[in-house]
Amino acid sequence: MSEEIAAAAVETAEKAGMLGLGEATLDAVLGYLVVFIGLSLLMVVVIIAGKIMVSRQKKEAAAPATAAPAAALAPAVSAAPKELAPGSAGEVKIYDTDPRDAAMIMAIVANKLGKPLNELRFVSIKEVKEA
């Protein structure tokens, strides 16, 4: 009798679109696995693509270096390193940011860290937009 009631309950639940405990667990585990496997495979693809791009960039960078001896005297003047301001640690790369905003950000960071600006090295400043 109780088996009949249980079977009827399962049938009613199925009709209503409800999942049993086992099926819900299976769907949840399977779903999480699909997300993990999908993104792991994507990670592999992105790593491979990245490696190819980096090696291409290295080859491109090496090509002018090998061509340099043939170019004789002329490049000697142009290849001279750009003179940096006294105390400078190099140049900061700015993406999607107004130079004045970048200057302000660097000043704020220096102030927050309590260190003089010329003791810090900023590599790049990039705007992060609100989605």
Binding site: M18, V35, G50, M53, K126
Partner: protein, 401 residues
């Protein structure tokens, strides 16, 4: 004269407050005012929250006043009724609907979430993710809450479709939650949208206690190495590769991933700057306006005030919390495997909510070590979370759709 005055009073919305379900509309008007307060004063996702609140306010005021000028619940009931001659008839809605009904077609047909994804794609820099692809694992880990809440919703008696829609709140991605719910459980759209956007706004309060509880001081202090610079070609290839790979893997993700990557391609090509600008600003703003007001209009008292809404609010919080926990735990695992080079705090940014979750990682990390800048490192898992939640939604839609 007196009879006319009496009729006027009886026809007013105030008289209907005391009749039948009128009190429910009154409660919804109060809720709309609270949402307006949260959006305007507290600035909780104001761009959407204000629209949702006004939509809710208008729908309930109209309902009390018996003025069907803006939104007709009965039209949408017929639209969803298998036995109605107007089942899935957009023509019937167009012919008889008001302003919000017409706008709501964009939600129902899944157009707005996709358009928003084009805008999000155009705003997103995938550079941090491309330079550190292992971030994708953190984005995957942080979908834990989606499936945990899905399981919990099943236990509470929701159907599979409803549980899937509730679970996706844990993806912390409003458009994905709206698209999934529209496809699987349209009657729950109001509470799910409000829960998703409210919790996204509350991320700075939900995540830090979990981050501190699950990580040690030493882990939080880890300084990560500078990310490698990503070239333009890589950035152009990335959206193309992701579209081909993910859509082939899980075709049901095509609307979300396709639009996200299309928007990103517009940004990165360098030859479609005008289109990228429109996607980031004008298009995004117009769609946000339409989406907010039409989703808010679904929050009519008779549909919203029930025990299911309370369950959804609780399950939404559980989903967000467990997504954060999932990201942090895999972050800790990566900390161990990398010999202490990865700060586990960036794991919590694996829930989407771009860029708020990444900002929280930055803030908590900097609190422990003022010279630590985790923002760009956390942006990797953060944008990976957008892809992860789209894949989770795609899986749920293909199983239950």
């Amino acid at each position: 004269m007196l009879e006319s005055l009496g009729n006027l009073v009886m026809d007013s919305g105030f008289a209907h407050i005391l009749i039948a379900d009128g009190w429910k509309n009154l409660v919804m008007i109060a809720i709309a005012c609270v949402l307006l307060y949260l959006g305007i004063k507290k600035q909780y996702e104001p761009l959407l929250m204000v629209g949702i609140a006004v939509g809710c306010l208008l729908a309930n005021v109209s309902s009390l006043s018996n003025t069907d000028a803006l939104y007709h619940q009965n039209l949408w009931d017929a639209f969803l009724d298998h036995n109605s001659p107007y089942y899935h008839s957009y023509g019937y809605i167009m012919a008889n609907g008001g302003l919000i009904d017409i706008l709501y077609i964009g939600v129902k047909a899944g157009i707005y979430p996709c358009l928003i994804f084009i805008g999000i794609g155009a705003m997103t820099d995938f550079g941090p993710l491309i330079s550190n692809p292992t971030s994708l694992l953190l984005g995957a880990a942080a979908q834990f809450g989606v499936f945990f809440a899905f399981f919990g919703a099943n236990l509470l008696g929701f159907t599979g479709n409803e549980a899937a829609s509730i679970g996706i709140i844990g993806g912390a991605d409003g458009p994905t939650a709206i698209l999934t719910t529209t496809k699987l459980a349209p009657h729950l759209l109001g509470p799910i949208a409000v829960a998703a956007y409210s919790y996204m706004a509350l991320i700075p309060m939900i995540q830090p206690p979990l981050m501190k509880a699950l990580t040690t001081e030493k882990e939080r202090k880890v300084k990560m190495e500078q990310l490698r610079e990503v070239g333009k070609t890589e950035k152009i290839l990335f959206p193309i590769i992701v579209t081909i790979f993910v859509v082939l893997l899980l075709p049901s993700t095509a609307p979300l991933i396709g639009c996200l990557m299309f928007g990103n391609l517009l940004k990165e090509t360098g030859v479609t700057d005008r289109l990228s600008d429109v996607a980031q600003n004008a298009l995004m703003n117009i769609v946000t306006l339409f989406l907010g007001i039409s989703v808010g209009a679904t929050m009519v008292g008779s549909n919203f005030l029930n025990i299911q809404t309370i369950y959804i609010v609780i399950l939404g919080l559980i989903a967000f919390s467990f997504s954060t926990i999932g990201g942090l735990l895999v972050g800790k695992l990566m900390y161990r495997l990398s010999g202490g080079k990865i700060n586990p705090l960036i794991g919590s940014a694996g829930v989407s909510a771009v860029p708020m979750a990444a900002r929280v990682s930055q803030k908590v990390g900097q609190k422990e070590n003022p010279s630590n800048f985790l923002l760009m490192h956390a942006m990797g898992p953060n944008v990976a979370g957008v892809i992860g939640s789209a894949i989770a939604a795609g899986f749920l839609m293909s199983v239950f759709g």
